[in-house]
Amino acid sequence: MTERAPDVSVSPPRSRSKYTLAPLVLIAANVVLFALFFLWPAVIGLVYSFTNYTGVGAFQFVGLDNYQRLFGDSTFFDALTRTLLYTVLFVPLNFVFSLLIANVLVSKHAKGVSVARVFFFIPWLLSPIVVGVLWRWLFGENFGLVNYFIEKFGGSAVPWQSNADLSLMVVVVAASWAWTGFSMLLFIAAIKNVPTSYYEAAALDGAGAWRQFISITLPSIAPTSFIVILLNTIHAMKEYPLFASLNNGGPGTTNNLLVQYIYQTGFKSGQIGYASAASFVLMLILMVVAIVQMMVNRRVENR
């Protein structure tokens, strides 16, 4: 026993070195990159939000002034309201559209599924700038394809760009078109994982396709739905390139979303401190959205 004692006492440190050093080395690069490109900028951003930093030279700490200013800034609230409106319009539209397509594509009656999947997935591979340019060609107010056909059939050109609400609607539809492929793939994977025996049993009980969808499919894919809604919400709250390329936040500044407001305030007007405060307000909103959605999801799962 006395001879075996050193084995017992030495082994744990050796196994620690075996299983801790290698993982540490392997993740070191990620840790460094995370610290350098996320943690450090985030800390700097937080510090800037309490200063009057303009991007060059020295700065002074101004306490909560930037945050107080934000609450009295109508442009900020306009951008925030428009961002929320865009999110409220985009997320359900994308959800319904992608779920509908996913259901059609998993149907045993569907033909040409592989081609259709690629067809619906391609828009998601395009850069948002390209998507914006494409939809601008379609819904250009002056020389767009849609107005061309409207006028050709005797109608009047629709102000797709110079009417604020129509301009927003075009972006909502374009974004849904571009994001359908991604959400669709998640839904297809989830729907395929629902045991077919559920549907067979429901069919034996006389449930139709709609009842099966409501009572089996939707509850079974709830976790995926949660992920799709969460990702789409976060994406919508941070949307920028699609607006920049499609209507430049216009007409005027009516469709300037929060990220565009932050970019213009920080980098174009040289108010880095103020823009940092707006960024942190956006981050807080996103965190609240994520937490609320997680709580709701947990409650649904525990039912």
Binding site: S11, S17, N142, Q161, S162, G252, F267
Partner: protein, 440 residues
């Protein structure tokens, strides 16, 4: 077992490895930094060799290449031409200044306080009467030292759909000495639109420079600083801007350009727009791209001021790296701005010259393009000094360590056209933006 642990320690180098990784990282970073520092070491020439930085799209550096080769033949000085990508050119110059490895000569997009104290005085070239350099576009400091001379200049230009004008039977001026007013131009363009069922009378670049040119021509000074550096707008500017906003009625001009960023050039090139207010740089592209109708450049309107907003295509500067190289750089630039050499440069590169009295032979096949360049070369000497105000003001801001990062004109007038605010309120906001960024 202890022995095993010891062997493992040696094999893996537990402590050694941990020390080695950061050491290796530091060594690599150090090597990279050293190599980065070394990259600029080819600058700072001698009396027989100079380094010359430019930034042009590959293929459009023909004039520079030609002049450098000719200078080597005539003066025996080897000028090494380095074409730097536009993105990052400013940063590269800043880094070179901090590493004490600036080029000897450069064509730069703008001056920079980081290196402006290293510039050679170019007044002997600028003041040489035989060169006939337009003094409105020189960058000078408060002591009168000439910091830069434009390599070429750009200005606003009015393009018309000549086919539509002819179809409507409406005439237009062809000589800058007998030009029209904006009121006459708009009346003519509206008449052409109505007679030919064109979609719009005019598309107008969403650009502060174009608006400045129009305001200057209507007798205003746009956003102008007084002696204390405080900005304001005059009554003529307010009137001109209100007129401009009123034109955006989806007939005379489409609202979508200034409110939503629609492309005015594409609209004009579609053939369904009577005229287009843009920059002279469009000539080269229209020479190739417009085939379905005839186009022409017409004299810029004067109401009553004959003016434009003239900017530099590039600013020629010399850096004082060392005595011999500085003298050689000065000699090279003196040679370059001799009218015969400068004319050859402008012809080969398609530049509008900053020197008057030249007739460069441009390589355009399009008659409209040739006529356009002839018109602009005749027009530029007639422009009032206000035409160079903004270009000079930018230099002065730089010398004070300031810069207009964002001209609020586009955003504020976009809001006015969209009905979010009045044109006067937009001007108030624009003035506030100028005062905040470059005032005082």
């Amino acid at each position: 077992m202890i022995n095993v642990g010891a062997r493992r320690s040696r094999r893996l180098g537990r402590g050694g490895m941990r020390r080695l990784v950061p050491l290796a990282a530091v060594a690599t970073a150090g090597a990279l930094l050293l190599s980065a520092c070394g990259s600029g070491s080819d600058s700072g020439g001698t009396s027989k060799s100079l380094t010359f930085w430019i930034s042009t799209v590959p293929g459009q550096d023909a004039g520079w290449k030609k002049m450098v080769a000719q200078y080597k033949k005539e003066a025996g000085v080897d000028v090494k031409l380095v074409n730097i990508p536009y993105d990052g050119y400013d940063a590269k110059l800043r880094n070179a200044a901090q590493a004490n490895s600036l080029p000897d000569v450069a064509a730069v997009p703008k001056l920079d306080p980081i290196w402006s104290n290293k510039l050679i005085d170019l007044s002997s070239i600028a003041n040489n009467k035989s060169n006939k350099i337009n003094a409105n576009f020189l960058a000078k400091d408060s002591s009168g030292k000439v910091l830069s001379i434009p390599s070429d200049i750009t200005a606003s230009g009015m393009f018309i759909n000549k086919s539509l004008f002819e179809k409507a039977g409406v005439s237009y001026p062809t000589s800058p000495s007998k030009t029209w007013t904006w009121t006459e131009f708009i009346k003519a363009a509206n008449e052409v639109r109505e007679k030919t069922k064109a979609k719009y009378s005019l598309t107008f670049d969403q650009s502060p420079s174009r608006l400045r040119a129009m305001v200057y021509e209507m007798g205003g000074k746009y956003v102008h600083a007084d002696s204390s550096g405080k900005f304001s707008v005059d009554a003529a500017t307010k009137k001109a801007v209100n007129t401009f906003v009123g034109w955006n009625d989806d007939k005379t001009m489409p609202k979508s350009v200034w409110t939503s960023g629609a492309d005015p050039s594409a609209m004009f090139q579609s053939g369904d727009v009577v005229a287009y207010w843009s920059g002279v740089w469009q000539v080269a592209s229209f020479a190739e791209s417009i085939n379905k109708f005839e186009w022409a450049s017409v004299p810029t309107p004067a109401q009553p001021v004959q003016a434009s907003d003239v900017n530099s295509g590039g600013l020629m500067v010399g850096f004082n790296n060392n005595g011999a190289a500085a003298t050689a750089a000065q000699k090279f630039m003196s040679w370059l701005y001799e009218p015969a050499h400068y004319q050859a440069l402008c012809a080969a590169s398609g530049f509008l010259p900053v020197e008057s009295g030249l007739s460069p032979k441009y390589p355009f096949k399009s008659e409209a393009a040739q006529a356009a360049f002839k018109l602009y070369n005749e027009s530029i000497p007639l422009y009032a000094p206000i035409s160079g105000y903004f270009n000079t003001a930018q230099t002065n801001w730089v010398l004070k360590g300031k810069s207009l990062t964002e001209d609020p004109t586009k955003t504020e007038l976009g809001k006015a056209i969209n009905g979010q605010q009045s044109a006067d309120k937009a001007l108030d906001n624009i003035v506030a933006g100028y005062n905040q960024q470059v005032g005082g």
